[in-house]
Symmetry: D2
Subunit: 446 residues, 4 copies
């Protein structure tokens, strides 16, 4: 009964849409969507759904936006029905009335998307649809509901319980490897030779996959197995670097983690991936003692420029270095005096540990927030850890090691979530103390 009313509105919606001149191709797609939602859709689901998907794919950018407009306006719950159900529930808090209300507020879009998914390749098509939606959504706040419902659906479908961890190596199909090359954004992969080195025996790469997308990694992580903490990423990426025996490695360095599906933005898996990989590696290589990232500090220079220089009362030399760093040079071309170097390292420690982002008191650096919330600690800062021009522009080449200690992550996570205190290792603490001495001296001297 309820479904019928929804369908009526859909058709009514289409009538209205025509008035505001919806393109024919979109009207055709809407007719298919209506059919898919109808009894007929139940009878011939997969076939109709395939037509819907093909029809959507054939739309141009403007047509897709017109389609999103209709989705946002028309495939919505019946407001009157909602009012009635809410009032009814207000008068009697019974489970059955709650169920009626829950039913009333659910958008027909949800069911539309669920049926859309019956098409072969339907899940991929829905991810692509959301990607399209996100592209233009800044100018369309009214699409927020559509997006929220897609996210809701994806959170349900891409439940961790449905993802499988797969190792990626040189035995993996070219089809998947090619996607790593395309997706890797942290440290770009320069072709197949570069990739091959990253898949040697002293490297590891793991990805989460979803059964409906067998050729599409959801998120992947790259690891180097080494005999020391890696303080710089360039040696790890060097295709000519010698391959070492992984059974003798003591350190697993997580040097890159990449979310592949733009359509899954806001549905996070990185946290779970890191933890499972720590477990898997620990089992395979009992000699591994340290699981550490080699992470960028993306917000440091930006923060120095806007606030840090002043707040920390850094000297003229530091200001100059920061200005040069922003111009896009590599570290080799950036001459920094030893005193300024020390000053900047200490400032970086301050930035990551002491500075609070507004308004909730968490650290201002996104990468720091991610790893600290996962239960890692900030163990070390590396001068010249990323010598590329992008590394310099973001953090004057400094990188951070966040360390995951399997037994401590849960407790660390709780401390962090409750207090937003940044747990830092002795080397970082030393930098902070140095900072204190420096500023004290400065004050005294001033």
């Amino acid at each position: 009964m309820r479904k019928k009313r929804l369908l009526n509105r859909l058709f009514a919606g289409r009538a209205t849409d025509r008035e505001v001149s919806v393109p024919k191709s979109v009207t055709a797609l809407l007719a298919l969507c209506s059919a898919l939602m109808s009894e007929r859709g139940e009878a011939s689901g997969a076939k109709l759904a395939s037509e819907v998907v093909a029809s959507y794919r054939a739309l141009g950018v403007a047509e897709r936006e017109a389609f999103f407009d209709v989705l946002a306006r028309s495939f919505v719950p019946d407001a009157i029905e909602i009012d009635r159900a809410a009032e009814s529930y207000r008068q009697d808090r019974s489970p059955s009335r709650l169920m009626v209300l829950q039913d009333a507020v659910e958008s027909p879009r949800q069911e539309l998307f669920r049926r859309w998914n019956m098409a072969p390749g339907g899940t991929a098509a829905l991810l692509a649809l959301r990607q399209d939606l996100l592209k233009a959504s800044r100018h369309h706040p009214d699409w927020a509901g559509v997006d929220a419902e897609l996210v809701h659906l994806f959170r349900s479908w891409f439940n961790r319980g449905f993802l499988t961890l797969q190792r990626i190596d040189w035995h993996t199909s070219a089809n998947i490897l090619e996607r790593l090359i395309q997706y890797e954004a942290v440290h770009q992969i320069q072709g197949w030779g570069d990739l091959r080195r990253r898949l040697e025996v002293d490297r590891r790469c793991y990805a989460f996959f979803h059964p409906a997308l067998p050729d599409e990694p959801i998120v992947f992580i790259e690891i180097a197995l080494t005999r020391d903490v890696a303080t710089s990423v360039q040696p790890l990426l060097d295709p000519e670097s010698p391959v070492v025996d992984p059974r003798r490695a003591s350190h697993a360095i997580f040097y890159s983690i990449t979310s592949c599906q733009e359509g899954l933005r806001g549905v996070s898996f990185g946290n779970l991936l890191i933890k499972q990989v720590v477990e898997v590696l620990g089992r395979e290589f009992p000699r591994l003692r340290t699981f550490a990232t080699l992470s960028p500090i993306p917000g440091f220079v930006q923060w120095l420029t806007t606030r840090g220089l002043t707040r920390l009362e850094l000297g003229h030399g530091a200001a100059e270095v920061v200005a040069t760093a922003r111009s896009g040079v590599g570290l080799a071309d950036l001459s920094v005096q030893p005193a300024v170097r020390d000053e900047l390292m200490a400032a970086c420690a301050w930035y990551l540990v002491k500075e609070k982002g507004d308004p909730d008191g968490t650290p201002p650096d996104a990468v720091a927030r991610f790893h600290l919330a996962n239960g890692a600690t900030l163990e070390r800062l590396n001068r010249g850890g990323d010598q590329s021009s992008i590394g310099v522009r973001r953090s004057i080449g400094i990188t951070a090691n966040y360390v995951y200690r399997p037994r401590a992550t849960e407790r660390n996570h709780e401390i962090y979530v409750k207090t937003h205190r940044v747990l830092a290792g002795p080397e970082v603490e030393r930098l902070l103390r140095r900072w204190q001495r420096m500023t004290e001296k400065q004050r005294r001297s001033s």
Copy 2:
């Protein structure tokens, strides 16, 4: 913010539970559930979820019911918050306010179940939980909300797009085959020898599987490839029946379809399975002309007893046969006079085609409703089609052939849904005409 309030209620809920003396084991499970819902749950999801699952599994029947009680009472949305969001939405029909309301009405249970699913084997555990719930739900109308939310979740997770069709044959693992033997209820499988015959080259068995349950068929169908319409099921099931060359078969007889997961009750796949199998078989065997079921008529005798005999003014002979049939004899032991036989066949046609179930005007027979709603037609009735005592008790041994014509199912489905008219083949029509003649003669003679 919202999450925090929910957690507070959860803990509050637990406090209350204690007062009504919730068993310790259940309290422990609830504490784990709360942890799973907390920040800690985000950090160590899979591990905590595994503990939740193990802890639930260790509960006895009574403890599980106590747990369901808490689930039904405590893991519920905040009524005040719902009122507020509903009122807010009433005043402004904006997408954002709708989103707030949608968020407000969703039970914390949904999120609990989603996190529960992170455990290895979590999906299977949730199906088992619902099976437990259903067993005792008749006496617990207040659990309806929990059940509805599980169904909602399963409908999303077991979307057709995530199911894979797999052929089951003698190369399938014993692990799965054993489940067929356990689950098959229509025509019980009498051990491995019986099963083996059902998997020979002139038989086919297909099942839907879900990636999270690789060893558990969701629903399976059994088919015989024959050179004639099968009018009786016993020859098909005979382990000693000769194996024929399937490439020469003209008929695919769907003689059994079984839903395996009690936990998925109400989430239907049979319709989709039949249609995909018709497609698959059509491609593999281009000579197949007819796709027909050999179906029981489970409600016929029951209907005859309660209403049919009177309504159709059947004679004394028929009444006697019906009485004997209900006593549980095989067809061989049921002597029926030719005239009575004809009378019963005609009555059966009348029952399936003309009789309307209350109140919505659909046919009273569940199997008929299923196939007709799928777009099949009622093609033929078979006297002695099922000679087993259960076949006699249900329908005096009469079986029905419903036929699926790929090109016509969609149209048939629409006609049926709109008019509830039963589309019947010429043989069934002939039976109906005979019935008319018989009754007319009777009236004239009376």
Copy 3:
């Protein structure tokens, strides 16, 4: 050139065959074989080979024997050519002349069988052919050459390097499991329920497979993981026996090993299978300390009857027990006085350790020879270890534990091969000493 001559002989051979009235079907098969050996065979190998295989399969028993006769007589090397090549090699021991001789002595049958193998299912067909050949070979000493060449080919094809070890469990396909039921001869499998128990977590089953026979185990072994040395096989086979946690097991009991392919008779894999399984189990279960068989002693009663009673001067009681044992009773029905029991146990130790089979000085018991040659030691004898009537008939129910110690097998093997000395454990040595005491006492008393 050489090939042509061979073909001429084949055709000539066929002419002669006709005179001795070779059946038409065999003549047709021979024509196909000739074609397969010809240039045409090179061009359309697989197709012709399939016809050859099909044609052979269609032959009756007598026809197959007629075919073997021709194989034995006609597809043979050219004697004159051999003489010439041998003489040539005698005059000049050059590699090239040796090659000519090697080429000359090779039967065309070898090439025929190699080409036969190009047919899909060709390898299985050749195994079946040898099985047929073996059945009647006792009456056909002239077939020995054909058989020897098949063995030579199989030894090459079934090289250990091409076999894969696979674990058999309840996830294995019914197709393969069914074969275990058929093939197991040591301790027959009583249907699927019995098999299932043998594949539980505290049991292991491994088989060698060849890539050309993916559904056919070559040889398989059954193991029980236990917390004690098993002294009796009946508890291990009991389908109702409780399943124990294999991680706590200290003993792996190899209670049955079965060669499946009669066509591979004389090509042995059991030795290699045992050794690899010891390795695999040792890795999976580091707590396992002992790898022991629970083996029959098939020749004991037979030997007692013909020689042992006299040679060991056993008393009247023992003779009576032996006579009853041979009549086919179970152990429960065999009343044996304690003194006779001890006498028989000691005699059995003597039989296995001291008695020498003629003429090469190896032990007379086939099972003992197998395990000792593999490097195992005779560790223990078990009274009532096999209580079945066959166990009684063979060895009055006594079984033997042979123990494999991974580090010692190589040395044991060498000792055994060089000296034929049976390495026995302390319990067996004790039995031997008792025997000595008994006989000494007897002598003194007589």
Copy 4:
């Protein structure tokens, strides 16, 4: 008994070897080989074999040659025993005496290699060994026996019945794809982008694999599915060429076939691969009408230079073109007058169809011999079919289409094998007639 004598000789052989100063590493390997052949080898085959393989791999080039010398001299049959067995067989032509002789002539090397194969990776190691042997064999005619025995073994092991046909596409592992790039010699693959185009939907690539070498293609073939006979290879290889719908293709162009394993030289699979691929493609694409190669004519320019120019009395222009072609220019840089062009095309037809290679009367061109012996016909010659400098240097850029007609190949093969007549299509016949006219005119005019 016989084995023992062989072993004695082996050790004796080693003694002698020492005198001619066999390197220590080789002596150690020989000791391992002896152990592998001994009783101990039977007991611990796989482990010893692994040591043998590792020990061989560690040898340098000179050491390997020293090892081959010993193999050639020492692991040989006993000449006296051969003489005796040959004489014995001469006196009595019984199967058993033949068996003794066959046994006597077999080299212990055969058994050594068979045991060597028990090592994991043993098959690959033996292929590598033969590759090493072949490299230096030109200077070591005495190694011919070793090589012949390896070939004999490989022919048995790499029987067509054990090879599997696999399609190679973009879903294949990078590991295997990388090998295609390495191995392809006919038309080199310029990196992964080039390879990707060759694996698009309108291209096909198939390879034979052996179970013991799962990552190593044995031989592979590349095919383009087109709507016309391809007359030039460059458009097929162009990475930017548009991808067409393969279901509409009428022609399958086999443009490259590559044997990958140097160690299998002389054991041919190309013939079988082509035939099976013709079958597979015919089934998948019923619209395919023509299966044609696009083949090089490797010997044409060479033949023209040495004999053709004179024999065919070609003019000065042709001679000049041939001289330039040999200098290594691309076709674009070779200016040829139309008359000379026609002359060369006709000469090429003459070369392929009429010229006879010595001494057996087969065509002088190796590629022609291969396809004609497979039952193909020479259908067409393409001017400028391969414009690369290598194409020009070999055949002035002319390519040949050999056509496989499934129903005719067997007959064609027989005709070719018996008569060495080259079956040519009408276009080639036309070129031959033109040639005749030209020469007649020439003669008349001279």
